[in-house]
């Protein structure tokens, strides 16, 4: 009973805070309190409705519907991210299982992990001579580290009881990896994949400002048009998409939560 009321209450509070935010934004913009010509919330909402009501139009690369731009960004992220996961999980398992692999690969991981993935952009452009592949490459580099590190950590900290059971049954290495280690570290893998997805989605916007097309390029283009309200539209859509992607992993993590 109590819970139902508090749930309803939080909903009301959320809506209320949103309304207050929109009103204050509008007042600040209208009065020119921040800077002149700063778009108000009404203008931004109108722009949002305009973009969302017709997301798929194509009048050339500089006038593309926001739906197309979003799909272009999502495609780059999904390809680069999937490739990264396909590399990161086996490599992480190897690093977690073998001291030799750990000590030979760890220096690269530790050195490359703190580098902004955008630093790889010129390298990608030079090697691939293609902005599409370069975008995917940058996302690949971005996504690989959190999944790799989490997977390796998961293997290294796996409950030794599971391995003992497997060993006592005389299970082969391949059975142990597929049927014991991988399921046991699923929570770690998913946690890593969630962080990877989050960073990939952050990085694609920045990368696309330099690459052309995609939601990041949309922002850059609207900056050249000095249309701040359209930039706000993009920010809202990027935020919402990122939220959905993150929730997807939240859902998966709940499914693979083994804790008692």
């Amino acid at each position: 009973m109590n819970k139902v009321i508090s749930k309803r209450l939080t909903f009301v509070v959320t809506i209320l805070s949103l309304l207050i935010f929109i009103i204050i934004w509008q007042i600040i913009a209208q009065q020119g309190l921040l800077v002149k010509n700063f778009p108000g919330s009404f203008k931004t909402i109108n722009a949002l409705i305009w973009w969302v009501s017709d997301p798929f139009f194509d009048n050339g690369p500089n006038d593309l519907g926001i739906g197309f731009n979003l799909l272009i960004s999502l495609r780059r992220v999904l390809i680069g991210y999937s490739l990264a996961v396909l590399v990161a999980i086996p490599l992480g398992v190897l690093m977690g299982m073998s001291k030799l692999a750990q000590s030979s690969l760890n220096p690269y991981v530790q050195l490359l992990k703190p580098v902004s993935p955008l630093a790889w952009l010129p390298v990608g452009l030079f090697v691939f001579r293609n902005s599409e592949i370069t975008g995917i490459f940058v996302i690949f580099i971005t996504s690989i580290w959190p999944t790799l590190i989490n997977t390796a950590f998961g293997v290294a900290s796996i409950n030794p009881d599971y391995l003992r059971v497997s060993k006592s049954l005389g299970a082969s290495k391949s059975i142990t990896i597929r049927r014991v280690i991988l399921p046991a570290i699923m929570p770690n893998i998913l946690a890593g994949m969630r962080i990877s997805m989050g960073t990939a989605w952050l990085v694609i916007v920045a990368a696309e400002m330099l690459l052309g097309t995609g939601i990041g390029y949309f922002i850059w283009n609207e900056w050249n048009n000095l249309s701040l309200e359209n930039i706000f539209v993009a920010i809202i859509i990027i935020g919402f998409t990122g939220f959905i992607l993150d929730q997807l992993f939240g859902f998966l993590q709940d499914k693979f939560d083994y804790s008692i």
């Binding site: 009881d161 599971y162 059971v165 006592s168 005389g170 399921p183």
Partner: protein, 284 residues
């Protein structure tokens, strides 16, 4: 050897010859520069033991005396530094399905249901068996421990006692002739523990298996065993005594405590454990 009042076949099932295990500290990068000598730890040394077929043997000793190490060696999970482990006349090299192992923390895979946990063991040991065969066998063993209704539950939905029953079913499902148990009831409350002790006894009677049980409970050892192995305190623990428990079976939990023979052995065990525990506590 001590005389065995049971009329069971007196062929040796397991023999330990001068068994020893030393754990060497792994060299870490900075140890190369450190002046300290690397430390190693001798858990057990010079263990000699013979266990007859289908007997119930308990190993008891103060904590940290290497009981679990000894069990891991017999299970083949670790390899000995010195000595031999001979099973049915053959020296063993590693783990095998002739030995079922039961751990204190149940060690059920949390991502598998109870029946899937047993099927995992069966699939691993009998890869040639068909799916329906394996399923039927798994259900039979779940039924044996009274848990066929919980077959589709996950371990986290089960109580500690139920989890350990699943672990027992899993260990037995591969049809081992030796059951190795490492303080299997240590984490359970007293009532569940006595219930599971009865279960274990009836399982042991029905299935022809040799049981090696690690325990720190004198009462448990006395109630269940044909023979009790007493270990000295570690490090470098070894066997100090072997005591035959020639009490009639079935043993009744209530009446057994009136038996003068029971009391005599119990006192001997208590004295030993107290002495060895004192040795441990005064060293540290």
């Amino acid at each position: 050897m001590q005389k065995d009042s049971n009329s069971k076949k007196n062929s040796t099932h397991l023999e330990l010859v001068k068994l020893g295990k030393i754990f060497f500290k792994e060299k870490k990068f900075f140890d190369l520069y450190s002046k300290h000598k690397k430390s190693s730890f001798e858990a057990i040394k010079n263990i000699n033991l013979k266990i007859e077929k289908n007997t119930f043997v308990s190993i008891i000793g103060p904590s940290g005396c290497g009981k679990s190490t000894l069990l891991n060696l017999i299970a083949g999970l670790q390899s000995p530094t010195s000595g031999k482990i001979i099973i049915d006349g053959l020296s063993i090299k590693g783990p095998g399905p002739d030995r079922g192992v039961i751990f204190q923390n149940y060690a059920l895979m949390p991502w598998l249901t109870t029946i899937q946990n047993i099927e995992f063991a069966l699939n691993t040991v009998f890869p040639e068996k068909t799916k329906p065969d394996i399923k039927e066998r798994a259900i039979n063993y779940l039924r044996m421990v009274g848990l066929e209704k919980a077959s589709n539950k996950f371990p986290k939905e089960l109580s500690g006692g139920m989890k350990q029953r699943v672990a027992i079913a899993r260990a037995l499902s591969i049809n081992p002739n030796m059951l190795l148990m490492d303080e299997p009831f240590g984490a359970l409350d007293a009532l569940t523990r006595s219930y599971l002790q009865e279960e274990l006894l009836s399982i042991w009677r029905k299935n022809k298996v040799t049981v090696v049980l690690i325990t720190h409970s004198i009462e448990e050892a006395l109630l269940l065993s044909d023979k009790i192995i007493l270990m000295s305190s570690g490090p470098s623990a070894t066997i100090s005594e072997e005591i035959s428990v020639d009490l009639d079976r079935p043993r009744d939990r209530q009446n057994i405590e009136q038996d003068p023979k029971y009391l005599k052995i119990k006192m001997r065990l208590e004295k030993h454990l107290l002495r060895e525990t004192r040795a441990v506590e005064e060293v540290t």
